[in-house]
Structure formats: C-alpha cells, structure tokens
C-alpha cells in the first residue's frame, strides 16, 4: 500500500471521529514517528491532524483522552519492533479504551539488510 492509500484510509477513519485527529505511536519511543508524520503530511492536500506520541510502552501521553476518543495508528518497524512489544502495546491501548485505527509496517532502510 502506498502513502496515498494510507492517507485516504486515515481520512476515512478521522472523519468518523468528532475531533478528526489520529494519534501516531510506536510500541517503543522512536524518532521514526516524527519522520513518518512529516512524510505523510507532506503533499497531503487535506490532511487529518496527526498527533505524534511517544512509545506506547514508554508512558504514552494522551492529551485529548479526557475530552475525546482519538484513534491510534501504531507504527511497527519491520525487523526492529519486537513481537511481544507490539502485542503488549495493542493490549495496553485496548485496555485504555482507545480505538486502534490500524498498524503500519515500516521497512526502515538498513534494518532488514
């Protein structure tokens, strides 16, 4: 799936919420989130509001949790994010009552080589 498809998917998901926001997080804090968000927003004509977050398992900050429910997009780095961390993060999000918009599998250059 390309970035374009992801954008449209995110637009649909965001439109179903009141805030039209999507939180982007990785299981463990990683700078890839910022880069990913920048890349995603760049060239997006009608972007949804993306909230960059720290790692889910590193004490995620949910500034809007008390006001409105924000779906979370979980970034999984291929060959880097550990399976148990991903599962634990998903379990944690579910436990907190946050909807999970979906996951994105990122192949970071150099990781799979």
């Amino acid at each position: 799936m390309s970035l374009q498809r992801l954008r449209s998917e995110l637009s649909v998901i965001a439109s179903q919420t009141k805030s039209r926001k999507v939180m982007v997080a990785t299981p463990i804090t990683d700078s890839v989130t910022t880069n990913f968000c920048a890349k995603l927003v760049a060239g997006w004509e009608d972007p949804v509001e993306l909230i960059e977050s720290d790692g889910v398992l590193d004490g995620i900050q949910f500034p809007l949790v008390s006001e409105v429910t924000v779906p979370v997009l979980l970034l999984v780095i291929a060959g880097d994010s550990r399976r148990e961390d991903v599962k634990e993060a998903i379990g944690y999000l579910k436990k907190k009552g946050l909807p999970i918009a979906g996951t994105v599998l990122l192949e970071r250059k150099g990781v799979l080589d």
């Binding site: 998917e9 880069n35 890349k39 399976r83 599962k87 979906g102 996951t103 994105v104 192949e107 970071r108």
Partner: protein, 402 residues
C-alpha cells in the same frame, strides 16, 4: 504455504547457501587427505585338534561349539602375532601415504616416531583396527585386512597367516612340553617309590626267613587257602587233640573207681595240661606266621600297584613324546581355504557417495537453520504475520525509506 516457504528461503538465503557450499567443500578436502582403503581377504579352516594323548584332548561341557574358532580369532588379534607381522614387514614406520593430495604434491610426509616402543604400539593398534575377522561357521574364519595399497594388504595378510600358524604351533608345542615335563617328574617320583617298596619287601623277606622265596616273585592273593594248605600239611593239631581226647577218656575211666589222689590220675592230668599248653603255644606261632604272611602280601600288593602306575605314566609319556614331533604339526589343523587375494577397487572412500551425502547434509542443515531461525524470529517482517497475530488491520506496508 509455498509462498511462505519461498519467502523464508529468500529471507535467509545465506543460511541455506552456506552449508550447501561448505559441506561439499569440506568433503572435497577430506577426500583429498584421506587414505584409500583396499581390502585383502582370506578364508581359513581351523579344525579342532585331536591328540593321541587322552589327557591333552580338549573336552568341553555344553554347546560351546564356537569356542575353538573364537580362540583362533583371539590368537589372530594377539599382540604376539601382530608384533611379528609388524617387525617382519618394518611397519613401525607407517607406509607411504596414498592420499590424492600426497600423490599430487609428490612428497609423502611420514611422521617419524622417535620412540621405537611407542611407534610399535601405534602400529599394533593401527593394524588391529584394520583387521577384521568373521566367523562363517564353527570352524571357518573369513579374515579381511585393509590397507592403503592393495598389494600391501595382500602381503601383510599373507604374513599374518604365516605368523599366526607359527604362534599357534608354538602354543601347542609349549603345551605338549609342559605336559611332558609333568609326566617326566611323575615317572621319576613313581620310580623312587617303586624302589622304596621293592627294598622294603626284600628287607621284610630277609627278616622273616619262614616266607617261601618264590612268594616274592609271584604274588598269590589267595591268602586263606595258602595258609590252610600250609597248616594242613605240617599241623600236629589232630595228633595232639587225639591224644588229649584219649587222655581225657582215660582220666574219666579212672575217676569212676579211683580217688582224686590216685597217682595215675595225677599223671594223666599233668599230661593233658602239657598237651594243652603245647596246643596253645602252637596256635600262637601259627597266628604270628599268618600275620607275617599277610603283611608280606600287603607289601607285594603295594609294589604291584606302584609298578602299574609307573607303567601307565610311562606309556602316557611315550604318547606325548610321539605327538611332539610330526604328529603335532599334523594336529595344528589350520587349512587355508582361500589364499590372501586383493580387490583392485578400493572400498573407501566412495567419492560420489561422500559428495552426494555432503550435499544432502548441507541442504538438510541449511533448511533446518532457516526453519529454526524463522521460529526464533523476534520481530515482524511481513504485514501478513502482523495482521494474523495481532488481529489489527495493517493499513500500509511502506518499504521506502521514511
């Protein structure tokens, strides 16, 4: 399923390729270095010997039919035989290497052992490991010897059979000599005993002059009859008894009319007493004489017994001495049914089999490594796996650098 397998193979290609290449390479290296093995085979018939002497005959209980042939195997594998083979063929220095590498490079490096005893021990051990003996039946042995040259294998097997027969003959010789020595000691012992008994008999006969001289030459065991005959011929018993009876009749007749103080009566009483004393004295002499005769016969019997035993041992000794020579050679009983031959085709290593096996093992090892690594993979690499395990939809799989 096939997609998954192909994905795994593509992902871990290096783990698959590495053993597939390395193992055949190792195999090639091994084939270059390893010594070829050529085998020489012989078949022998080891008959169980049957000696003239009953005491040398082997007697076993139960159904241990293979004992004899197993002993032959032990002799073949004995240090005594193998040591002789090694010494006679100068095998304390290892034979030249016949590996492909050694033939290529030309120089055949032979590790020379400084310590002769140690070199000999190694050689014996190596020889034993290349020798194989099969029992075909309770009397037939198949002997195989493998060496790095076919003619060397044949030569050494021939030498082995020769020394094996020599050693076996020596063992039998030792056994016969030991037994002959024992018999010789027994003969000497019985000879002394015989002499002692004969002297004792002669002394006894000298001390007792009444014993007839011919009795010592021919032993007659009919002692009571002999005694009766002697007593019957010379015995005064009936005369004395008859006279005592007559005197007692006369005494009784006188007692009817004469008084106790009658002189005639007193005389008859005295006569009767004298005769009775004579009778008693004669009885005692006869008893003494009979005792002497019995003792004499005892001595004769003992002498005869020792003489018989002496003759038996002497006869056994003669048999053993006879079997010590030609008969011993005949009784070795080892016949070579098939003379040592050799197969020009080496039995090991099998190049094609070794290469195919190493390739197969490399594949198995590589596939196992790939499978194990996939099981132990701690991260996600495919969107499919991520979605399947988390039950959360994967919105995108972005491969480019982010």
């Amino acid at each position: 399923m096939i997609d998954d397998i192909l994905y795994l193979l593509r992902l871990r290609l290096r783990f698959l390729v590495l053993p597939v290449i390395c193992l055949p390479l190792c195999s090639v290296f091994f084939l270059l270095q390893v010594e070829p093995k050529f085998v020489s085979t012989a078949k022998i018939w080891a008959k169980e010997r049957n000696e003239g002497s009953n005491l040398l005959k082997i007697q076993r209980e139960g159904l241990q039919e293979e004992t004899h042939v197993k002993i032959q195997t032990e002799i073949l594998f004995s240090d005594r035989v193998i040591h002789r083979v090694i010494e006679s063929n100068h095998l304390d220095t290892p034979p030249p290497s016949q590996s492909i590498w050694a033939r290529w490079v030309g120089g055949q490096v032979i590790p020379k052992e400084e310590d002769h005893e140690r070199a000999l021990r190694y050689a014996i051990k190596a020889f034993k490991s290349s020798l194989h003996v099969d029992l075909l039946n309770p009397e037939t042995l198949l002997i195989q010897l493998s060496m790095n040259e076919p003619r060397l294998a044949q030569k050494l097997l021939t030498s082995l059979l020769y020394h094996y027969r020599e050693v076996y003959r020596e063992i039998l010789q030792d056994e016969v000599e030991e037994y002959a020595s024992f018999l010789s000691r027994e003969i000497a012992k019985f000879g002394l005993e015989l002499e002692e008994k004969a002297l004792a008999l002669i002394d006894f006969e000298r001390q007792h002059a009444l014993i007839p001289q011919e009795s010592s030459a021919s032993f007659d065991p009919r002692v009571p009859a002999l005694m009766g005959k002697e007593v019957g011929d010379v015995s005064p018993f009936p005369i004395i008894m008859s006279r005592i009876s007559e005197l007692e009749l006369e005494q009784n007749r006188l007692l009817t009319f004469a008084s106790a103080g009658n002189k005639e009566l007193i005389r008859i009483g005295v006569e009767i007493n004298k005769d009775k004393d004579l009778l008693n004295s004669y009885n005692e002499k006869l008893r003494d004489h009979a005792e002497v005769l019995v003792r004499h016969q005892e001595l004769q019997w003992e002498l005869s017994e020792v003489r018989q035993r002496h003759q038996q041992v002497q006869s056994e000794y003669d048999k053993v001495i006879l079997s010590k020579g030609t008969k011993l050679d005949e009784s070795i009983g080892i016949t070579i049914l098939d003379e040592p031959n050799f197969d020009p085709e080496k039995i090991a290593p099998k190049k094609k089999v070794a290469l195919a096996a190493s390739l197969f093992m490399g594949c198995v090892l590589g596939l196992s490594a790939v499978y194990l690594l996939s099981l132990l993979e701690p991260t996600y690499r495919r969107a499919k796996d991520l979605e399947k395990e988390t039950s959360v939809p994967v919105l995108a799989h972005i491969k480019e650098e982010v």
